[in-house]
Symmetry: C2
């Protein structure tokens, strides 16, 4: 089966399938954020999505398109965390078996939650083993359908429903900042934002230590990197998707990065000022926008700025360790 | 001036005044909460309100009714925290001076935020000095209008707009649980809930160490207690209000309590499962509902349950200390 780059029509169809299953997450405002960025900031709070992240959207959309034979045999997925839980929960809702291949150093909360949704978890070593190969082997041995975390049209279309909702909730935007790992969320966001708010400038944000898409975007072809060491465990991808990259090349204005320190500062802001638990990856968009405002690298003054908070799945012990590392640093 | 017990019409008028100033806060759902309580749980997230708590509603409503002379001289308030910030912020929005009398052991975040809103802060010792006397002296010396934290019809009516929104957002409820200090929030909630959902059973929840309203409710007259030692710093009141008590006597089904340990467990649940920072006082309603479900003391099974989360203003260091005190305890 050839997989095609999805379009906004696929995002619209995904939104229909998700109705009654995904939360319509709120858009939250903060005067402090408005002051920091100099514009009107609209946070799409996907940390308040089911299972704590936008990933439910793409997984549920993909699994709901399975035929009867696929549903009976089930699904296999590989993921650093949120996609794993998303596939496990979607499989449970749709009544099919699920096998999830997860890195052994994934946050314990994410591994436990995935098992809690009834999935079988297969662990591997992120630094020496190839999760994609393990997933493919399990798929062929057991007849399971493999749903990759980002490089699949139904996953991309499903993820795009969050940005679609955001623009429908608040109206056209001048800027959109989202988190970027393999490009599923950003690819889908591009489709939705460009359809509903064509003049909006779109920025994907990666961890500084894992800027493979930034490198790829600038030289015009995919660049593979080593597994990046960053606290943004949801964005430790090594290579942009073959379906997501052309969308980013066409629709994104640029790819930005944020340091781990900037992510912790953003997490502290979300907790103290907005009363939200945001995981490190989820803070990428705001961290970069804040840096752009502070340095003047983007003209955000007076603009309407959409920022997607991707998820909130962080162990409380990790959260408190990161937040307390800031002691004495103003946020 | 004689102050009368407010009615639902006052809540409706307050809602009009708050339009465009207070956030319409989201109602959040959690499958985990539904399973724990055995019903459908609707959380009204007032921790996502401006300045992080419902208190903005009552303060803004009260201050917006000042006449020109009152506005020019300004407002004085005494408060353990959130009312202080609420009055300070409302005064800034309405362009009037504000003096806030705060206990010297109030959370540093709350003192700093109050000063940040431009108010003058006067500190006192919670255990040896009388904040009400200090407030009254400042009012008479400087011609300021004193707005008490709960025992005022405009404050009660403003606080009631949160429960009004909740029922309007989700429809009639079978049960309503809210946090109870001096009864401003619960009094206003009674007015709104009984008007919009007359068969709903209403429960105010106090910290176990400070159950003055429970005692008062059961013997039928106000009981004064020592300043209670509890982590629920927003509910350390010693005496129910003369305006709030008759409303509670008429409309509340009962007054419940929660222990500090139950509050910490509820805060952990909110953080881990719902990605929300909730201050100890804000967790009172859920903590009691959860205990009632676990012990079977209330027949919550299959019911529609509204729970008001009152605020999220807790220092990150306090939050992490409380949460980490649970290590090894399942939440």
């Amino acid at each position: 089966m050839t997989l095609n780059v999805p379009t906004y029509a696929d995002v619209q169809a995904a939104a229909q399938r998700l109705k009654g299953h995904a939360h319509l997450t709120p858009v939250l405002r903060s005067r402090f954020a408005d002051e920091m960025l100099g514009g009107e900031v609209f946070f799409k709070a996907e940390n308040l999505q089911r299972m704590g992240a936008f990933k439910f959207r793409g997984a549920f959309n993909a699994l709901s398109r399975f035929d009867a034979a696929q549903r009976e045999r089930g699904v296999v997925a590989f993921s650093s965390g949120n996609h794993a839980q998303a596939v496990a929960l979607s499989a449970r809702i749709l009544g099919m078996p699920a096998v999830i291949v997860m890195p052994s150093d994934a946050p314990p909360l994410k591994i436990a939650a995935t098992r809690g949704y009834g999935a079988q978890v297969v662990l591997y070593d992120r630094y020496t083993e190839d999760r994609e190969a393990i997933g493919k082997r399990l798929a062929s041995e057991r007849g399971l359908t493999l749903i990759p975390p980002y490089d699949h049209p139904d996953v991309i279309a499903g993820q795009g429903t969050a940005a679609k909702e955001l623009v429908e909730q608040v109206g056209p935007l001048d800027y959109f900042f989202g988190c970027l790992g393999g490009g599923g969320l950003m690819g889908g966001s591009c489709l939705a934002v460009k359809a509903l708010s064509p003049d909006c400038r779109i920025y994907g944000v990666e961890p500084e230590a894992g800027n493979d898409v930034q490198q790829s975007f600038r030289i015009g072809k995919p660049v593979r990197i080593e597994v990046p060491k960053t606290i943004a465990d949801g964005a430790q991808t090594q290579l942009v998707g073959t379906l997501t990259f052309p969308i980013l090349q066409r629709d994104a204005s640029d790819i930005l990065t944020a340091t781990d320190q900037q992510l912790i500062e953003a997490m502290h802001f979300f907790a103290e000022r907005m009363k939200l638990i945001v995981e490190p990856t989820g803070a990428l968009g705001f961290a970069a926008a804040r840096h752009a405002a502070a340095t003047g690298s983007l003209p955000l003054k007076g603009k309407r700025i959409g920022i997607l908070i991707s998820g909130g799945n962080v162990d409380m012990s990790t959260f408190c360790r990161l937040i307390s590392s800031l002691d004495g640093t103003p946020s």
